[in-house]
Subunit: 308 residues, 3 copies
């Protein structure tokens, strides 16, 4: 139950109790920060952020979380060009070495399973910050935490996941993480980009109501939360099909205003065109608040993993 | 008057009182550092340095200033290759996101006006660290502060700006900043690289004496401060013209020794050939001391913007 | 004797007393860290790590050492692409500028002698973190410290240096550093990659027993320490010769088990194929512990150079 010393590899590893404990720790830390308190929980600890793919957003979010707790950071923004990797060093050797410098490692890597390989090699906790098309568990946690922060509860909501459900690791992790709560799912995607059956079967086997559709406007009549993702033009063989599909999946302020009241609009960012900028000023738009919640939930996770 | 929470976008935004207040704060901070005091004014605060163009000098200067005040840093040395930018995220979206991680953002960007765009998007202060051929206000502040530190006063001095006055954002910002004081100007440039009339008209409209010349040696007979900049070979269509011009604009130790007594020699750096290295050991050479003053004035600015 | 304010440029600059003093300081710091004590010896000090060649290992090791002592870091992971260097700024100018931001500079540069050039320019201590095929003195210190930590003594041991002894700056520095102690040397290399006579003559002139051989298995019957390095395929004109030679220089667990008891296995890392991974789990394998020792010895060095 206790996360002390644990690797964070997949959204599927958490129990509901653990997730709720993280929410509660995050709430407490956020409140203390907002009162202007200087936290020193991780004073003297070092977190290495090792990014084989650049990701300013996730790297800075972890580095902010660590420093807000009083800890220090060792930053490798471009691990791929590092000389030891260029000379042919294996990932386990790199990780075993860095494990001698830091107290925990945040790893972003293009290969599915890289975080597990790192965890097997390291004597210190590994936090998976995205392993290719695999998992991105702290993104799922911050998404859950945002729904809870904005809606006060997750149970009883209908959540619409929209866009490229086939290729997005974010929605795969989030769907599994949401299954810890009592929610209904609307999966809104063109047939060519529908949720992998592996994920939708996972939900149905657990008795969730899972609706699959490509009608965004109708879905928004009943959804409490809409989680937009980018429709990836480059995945379409037929560009006419893309042009047709993408029109269903642009969220405008008009659409939000005609949707169910208090619709919560989320997006993992970066956003390209799938949410028009006139939505940004609506109270419904939570996607930049998501980024702030990411710092709080990662603070909670670091505090728990370091055992403070 | 108070700079708390203010964006720092242009050298033109400061009043003389504000500039003198910054000098006074910088003096105080420098004195406390030199006594070996450990400052904790910005303990618990985070400064993000977001550089779309690499600039080790300006980035490290801000990061040193922040850490000397006890604050922490989130560093993006190569924002252009960051994945969210590569995926097509807009500058306002990137800034809005990072604004959730840090308490202020230092931005270097290749486009004129980028700092203003960022300031419009962000809920936290933006400090312009250079926006293309636009402004670089903290460079102008450190230049003023250096003249004041070395000469005890700025009023009453004759300042010669030398070199490529057409293309250098540094001299544009500095000329405007100097207009807060009672100085005489010598603008020393080949005709092809003379100061834009926009800037020289600005000075003349305020009743400043502005001499334009291309005779460096004669100017140095009366100037108190010479601010050298690089003549940019690539701007000349006619290379013979370049060869002829650049000879007027190489400052040697012989030239310094035959100049007015106590001539102050400045340069924004990097220096290529326009100041020979035999000048470096003369007491007149202030260009490396400028770099040190940059840390002190940026400390003062950060302390004021954060409101401490 | 005292290292306060000293540049660290070559392994040859240390006396035996200085090295033993560093060991003793490193032991003390390591013990305090292991008890969970938070060190603040370098609170308020800034270390700039300026890497013209990427080296995650060495950079992070120094940055960890500095932060473990309570100091701060200014990090330039890719100095070569920095704008001032791209514009043609000389190394002395770059160093003189950064010397105004930090209290000491760690420099990695591709050119032999670069650290000396930097030291001549800077008013603050320069720590050489590798200058081309020249020196890497802190690597030699951490190697000595590891032998001492693992074997309790260095005097009286037989040390086998194995692999590409011609091109490896690590073994050149280590051989000279070992000459402060009473050791016997086995230099194990193919003829084409044998130790430069400059180094072997240095040892023989000081009355050391120096055996040169290419028989690894026989050497391991009597060696107390084996220091493996990579045989660099690209140096061989004749690939058949390479294939033949590299087989002598792959250390397997079978070889370790048939060697002299308690053989200490070291490697500067990154390791490619010259030590098989089945050696990793043997107690003899010290190469990842070397990385940890690197942090301790660099902490000691920083503490001494800063004079605390």
């Amino acid at each position: 139950m206790n996360l002390k010393g644990t690797d964070i590899l997949t959204a599927a590893q958490f129990t509901r109790d653990q997730v709720e404990q993280l929410f509660s720790v995050a709430d407490g830390l956020a409140a203390r920060l907002q009162k202007g308190e200087r936290l020193r929980t991780l004073d003297g600890k070092l977190l290495a952020t090792v990014f084989y793919e650049p990701s300013t957003r996730t790297r800075l979010s972890f580095e902010a979380a660590m420093q807000r707790l009083g800890g220090g950071v060792l930053s490798v923004a471009e691990a791929k060009t590092a000389s030891s990797v260029a000379k042919g060093e294996t990932l386990p050797d790199t990780i075993r070495t860095i494990a001698n410098y830091a107290n925990a490692i945040v790893l972003r890597h293009p290969d599915v399973g890289a975080a597990q390989i790192a965890a097997d090699a390291a004597s210190i906790p590994i936090l998976n910050a995205g392993d290719g098309a695999g998992e991105h568990p702290t993104q799922a946690l911050l998404d859950l935490y945002t729904i809870r922060a904005e809606k006060k509860t997750i149970d009883g909501l209908r959540v619409a996941l929209v866009g490229d459900l086939k290729n997005g690791r974010t929605v795969h992790s989030l769907a599994r993480a949401l299954s810890l709560f009592k929610v209904d799912f609307s999966l809104v995607a063109p047939a060519a980009l529908s949720m992998p059956t592996e994920v939708s079967d996972y939900l149905r086997a657990r008795d969730f109501i899972v609706e699959e559709t490509n009608d965004l406007a109708r879905t928004l009549q009943k959804a409490d939360v809409v989680y937009m993702t980018r429709v990836q033009k480059e995945r379409f063989a037929d560009q006419k099909q893309y042009e047709k599909m993408k029109n269903f999946f642009i969220l405008t302020s008009d659409l939000v205003k005609s949707a169910k009241e208090n619709l919560l609009v989320m997006h993992p960012l970066p956003r390209i065109d799938e949410i028009t900028t006139d939505v940004d000023t609506l109270p419904n738009a939570a996607y930049f608040r998501q980024a702030k919640n990411g710092v709080f939930i990662r603070m909670a996770l670091l505090a728990e993993v370091f055992g403070n």
